[in-house]
């Protein structure tokens, strides 16, 4: 039974591309689809998932308390009041990334499975050091978040290589903060460009447009996935449906090439 549980690490290499926002919103959207979702903040020492979910005032115990036996997992898990089947396991804020080992991380994941969750999403710290290795240790799938911007795509490529080395093959890709107008005016990398750079092993899971409602809703502690009218929220809801196996068309991505580019594509596409 617990083998059906999806354990997905959300990672990026580069910081600030939207891992935590993605974790919060994909989690929320999955829960809205009726899944039992646990979100684990693996960014020990730099806790932020609590803010993205608006749960920061309800933290009593954290993952270190669980690992070191001061609290039971059930006590540390915070149930979301808006979405009853969503829970968060907070990171510790006072320790650093070496405070939890890969083995302990795997054990926490096993214990979460035993609690009956159907999805466990792990919010990975930035970087490629021990914190990354710990966060990926218990996962069986990976989502790589990138922005259509050079440093972020380069780091995503590095992370994909490292994930493969950890046995996490064929990661899923979310392109976050796409500015469709800039793609159309040939000023920004398109989703297709990003895919071309990262190669065929990566499967596109979602495209999230740059959207002011991300900022306003995060400020309020309400993930955009809950806002019906938000386009980014819609993008996250689509990600959740794709994770559940549905074929959902992507939003209009401004992929249009120049006329010459389109003609060239006609002749070069296989």
């Amino acid at each position: 039974m617990s083998d059906d549980v999806r354990v997905i690490v959300i990672t990026s290499g580069k910081g600030g591309v939207g891992k935590t926002t993605t974790t919060a919103n994909v989690g929320m959207a999955l829960a809205a689809q009726g899944e039992k979702v646990a979100l684990m903040d693996a960014d020990i020492g730099l806790r932020n998932l609590d803010l993205a979910l608006g749960l920061e005032n309800r933290i009593v115990y954290d993952v270190i308390d669980v690992v070191e036996g001061r609290a039971r997992l059930k006590q540390a898990l915070i149930r979301d009041k808006r979405m009853q089947n969503l829970a968060m396991l907070p990171a510790a804020q006072t320790r650093d990334k070496s405070a939890v080992s890969a083995t302990q991380m795997k054990q926490v994941v096993e214990d979460l499975k035993a609690e009956g969750f159907t999805f466990i999403l792990i919010d990975c710290p930035a970087g490629i050091e021990q914190g990354f290795k710990n966060a990926t240790a218990g996962a069986t799938e990976a989502i790589v978040v990138t922005n259509p911007e050079m440093a972020s795509v380069r780091d995503a490529d590095r992370i994909i290589g490292l994930l493969e080395a950890e046995g996490l093959r064929d990661p899923m890709l979310i392109v976050n903060r796409l500015r469709i107008k800039m793609v159309e005016s040939q000023d920004m990398l398109s989703v297709g460009d990003v895919q071309e750079v990262l190669g065929n092993s990566v499967k596109l899971l979602g495209v999230v447009p740059d959207d002011n409602t991300i900022i306003t809703s995060t400020n309020r502690g309400e993930p955009v996935a809950l806002l019906k009218e938000s386009i980014a929220g819609q993008a996250y809801r689509n990600v959740a449906r794709r994770l559940l196996g549905e074929q959902v068309p992507f939003l209009d991505l401004g992929e249009r090439d120049s006329l010459f580019g389109r003609i060239k594509k006609l002749f070069t596409s296989k």
Binding site: R158, G161, Q186, D187, M188, E196, V197, L198
Partner: protein, 95 residues
């Protein structure tokens, strides 16, 4: 901004920021993955120039060496050399 757009329409301003980003990224990513540093490629390039110019008249600055990924996942070393003709016999080493 509309000026930029107008220039682009006339093909005056060179590759777009989008095309630049993609081209540069493809370059660094292949270097990262292959673990062959750019400095090594530059040494290879210089030596290719030395070899080829014994036989052919070339523009040394325009000799280009880069890595390309083949469909089977291996890396191909690709060099682009424009020849302006064969060197005269007396300049050539004995065959």
């Amino acid at each position: 901004m509309s000026n930029t757009w107008f220039n682009r329409l006339l093909g005056r301003s060179g590759p777009t920021p989008r095309a630049c980003a993609k081209e540069r990224l493809l370059g660094v990513v292949i270097e990262d993955r292959s673990a062959i540093p750019a400095s090594v490629l530059e040494l290879v390039r210089l030596e290719i120039v030395e070899v080829v110019k014994k036989y052919l008249i070339i523009d040394e600055q325009a000799v280009d060496v880069k890595l390309e990924k083949d469909d089977d996942g291996t890396y191909a070393l690709v060099s682009h050399v424009v020849s302006r003709g064969v060197r005269k016999k007396e300049g050539m080493p004995a065959l």
